[in-house]
């Protein structure tokens, strides 16, 4: 498959706690350093190839809850069909809560459709929510 050919993939995103992200958040708040560490998804090299996205390139993750563009990182330890993301303001954009389906919000295993993106990474300023003045 050439680099121009790409397709969408169904992935299960596993989220995890990242100490480096937490340190950045405590030190500087939710800003540039936070965005750099949070807006990433680890993917298997095979899945990256299927997506037609290179290591470090933007990928879009979307589901019925929302959509974000994050940086893809090739990681041979990640199983094909899954992606790994630190728990952050990015991952909660894809997190649903429906008590008819499950008691707790779906923080840890998030089903998404992934595709190569020709947009920039979603800026953290778009994700802070609430009634910001």
């Amino acid at each position: 498959m050439s680099a121009l050919e790409s397709k969408n993939l169904e992935l299960v995103i596993i989220t995890y706690q990242d100490d480096f992200l937490k340190v950045a958040e405590i030190k500087e708040g939710v800003g540039g350093a936070y965005e750099k560490l949070a807006a990433v998804v680890g993917l298997s090299p095979d899945d990256l190839k299927l997506l037609g996205a290179g290591d470090g390139k933007p990928v879009e993750l979307k589901n019925a809850i929302g959509s974000i563009v994050v940086q893809a990182k090739s990681n041979p330890k990640v199983k094909p069909g899954t992606g790994q993301m630190p728990f952050s303001l990015y991952s909660i954009c894809l997190t649903g809560y429906d008590p008819a389906k499950s008691k707790l919000p779906n923080f840890k295993r998030i089903e998404v459709t992934a595709g190569a993106a020709n947009r920039n990474i979603t800026p953290i300023s778009e994700l802070q929510g609430g009634k910001v003045a």
Binding site: Y16, D19, I26, K27, I92, P99, K103, K108, R109, V132
Partner: protein, 408 residues
């Protein structure tokens, strides 16, 4: 040098040394990166919360008065948070909830609540972290990566705290295992590693139970059981991975731990991230008989309808008092949008996405730095936080007393 207990995470590491020179932190010793960042942030005016009303800076007095006004006008108030507050603060907040007839909940209702409840009821056995070192034969981390969630946990309380080493002198004399869904730097040092497919923890527990009951089980389940058979004291450290995989239903897990106890003293410790979630649950249980999800409207009622998530999902509260918590950073996006539709009062020592979104922000002294008091650690042990320095900000206790309308 001041000695303090770090309130940067649920480990509550003691013996952290801080030197203050010319009113600023000059040296921090023995803290992890997270703890040091937390202490530095408390000393950094750019990171400290300021009192705001409708995003405009005001005095503490004005912010407290506005909060009092909003709460007194509210017909369906809700109090949320308190997992990083002292027991003393929590007690006052419970009185305030009672006076307001408010719904009261904390993050345990969508994380460790079931597990803590089992420990408080005695369905599961806990163990003091101070009893683990050199005594436990098996340390099993399940759905938890302590290197990231509690960076000094291994060196302070468990694996690296051991003083007895194997005969070759290479490794601590204890079996360290994990149940995981990812390859991590932590799983790299564990042996064995029970690598599960995401969300398959329940199936693994069923396999273990089937084997214990004399039925069939996988090789992994057999290895898992053998570890407990060979151990006198076994610890299972439960992380968020397990909580969410089981969707908060620990009945099978509790049954498994009960069965494992025929071979070993099997104890459970929840890897709580917050400083005093255990304390919130214990104190509220003493007061109401319930650990969370309580309404004080017309007496004490309890149920999932009073969880913070359900209240937000249904858009019920007309005013929310958030104490020492940052739900905007952790809530699913649909609930976060509902939070934005209601009046929010936030008590916080640091600037967070929640303080940025709140209608009223009351800047507070930081527990464990500018406010002393008692908290209960993840293992159920009481720990005393030390006040290291005076604060320009009122403490959470003082603010809540003011909101309660009593003299400080």
């Amino acid at each position: 040098m001041a000695n303090l207990v770090c309130a940067g995470c649920g480990s509550l590491c003691d013996g952290i040394q801080v030197q203050i020179e010319e009113n600023r932190i000059a040296v921090i010793d023995k803290a992890c990166a997270k703890g040091a960042a937390f202490l530095n942030a408390l000393g950094n005016p750019k990171r400290r919360a300021i009192c705001l009303v409708n995003h405009k800076e005001v005095s503490s007095e004005k912010a407290i008065e506005e909060a009092k006004r909003l709460l007194s006008q509210s017909k369906r108030p809700l109090i949320f948070g308190l997992d990083n507050s002292t027991l003393e603060t929590q007690a006052i907040a419970f009185r305030l909830a009672e006076k307001l007839g408010a719904v009261l909940d904390d993050a345990s209702s969508f994380s460790y609540g079931e597990l803590i409840s089992s420990l408080l009821k005695g369905t599961l056995h806990g163990c003091s972290l101070s009893q683990i070192k050199d005594k436990a034969n098996l340390l099993m981390y399940w759905g938890s990566n302590p290197m990231h969630s509690h960076p000094r946990h291994l060196s302070e309380h468990s694996y690296y705290a051991y003083t007895e080493y194997d005969i070759a002198g290479w490794l601590p004399k204890v079996k360290l295992g994990c149940v995981e869904v990812r390859d991590t730097e932590f799983s790299y040092i564990c042996n064995p590693v029970f690598m599960l497919s995401p969300g398959k923890d329940r199936e693994f527990i069923q396999d273990v139970l089937s084997l214990i009951k004399g039925g069939n089980g996988t090789e992994e389940a057999k290895t898992f059981c053998d570890l407990f058979k060979l151990s006198r004291l076994s610890l299972i450290f439960c992380g968020r991975g397990l909580v969410y995989s089981l969707d908060g239903d620990f009945s099978l897990f509790n049954e498994m731990v009960g069965k494992l106890s025929q071979w070993t003293k099997a104890c459970v410790i929840p890897m709580i991230d917050d400083v005093n979630m255990f304390g919130f649950n214990k104190l509220l249980r003493q007061k109401t008989g319930h650990i969370n999800q309580v309404s004080f409207s017309g007496g004490v009622s309890h149920g999932p309808e009073f969880s913070f998530l359900e209240q937000l999902r249904k858009g019920l509260p007309d005013c929310i008092l958030i104490i020492g918590s940052d739900p905007i950073s952790t809530l699913p996006v649909s609930l976060r949008n509902n939070l934005a539709k209601t009046k929010v009062i936030c008590l916080s020592s640091l600037i967070t996405p929640t303080t940025k979104a709140a209608d009223v922000v009351i800047a507070t002294a930081a527990p464990g730095w500018e406010q002393g008091g008692k908290v209960i650690r993840m293992d159920g042990e009481e720990v005393r936080l030390i006040k290291v320095r005076e604060s320009a900000y009122p403490s959470e206790e003082e603010i809540l007393e003011r909101l309660l309308g009593e003299k400080i």
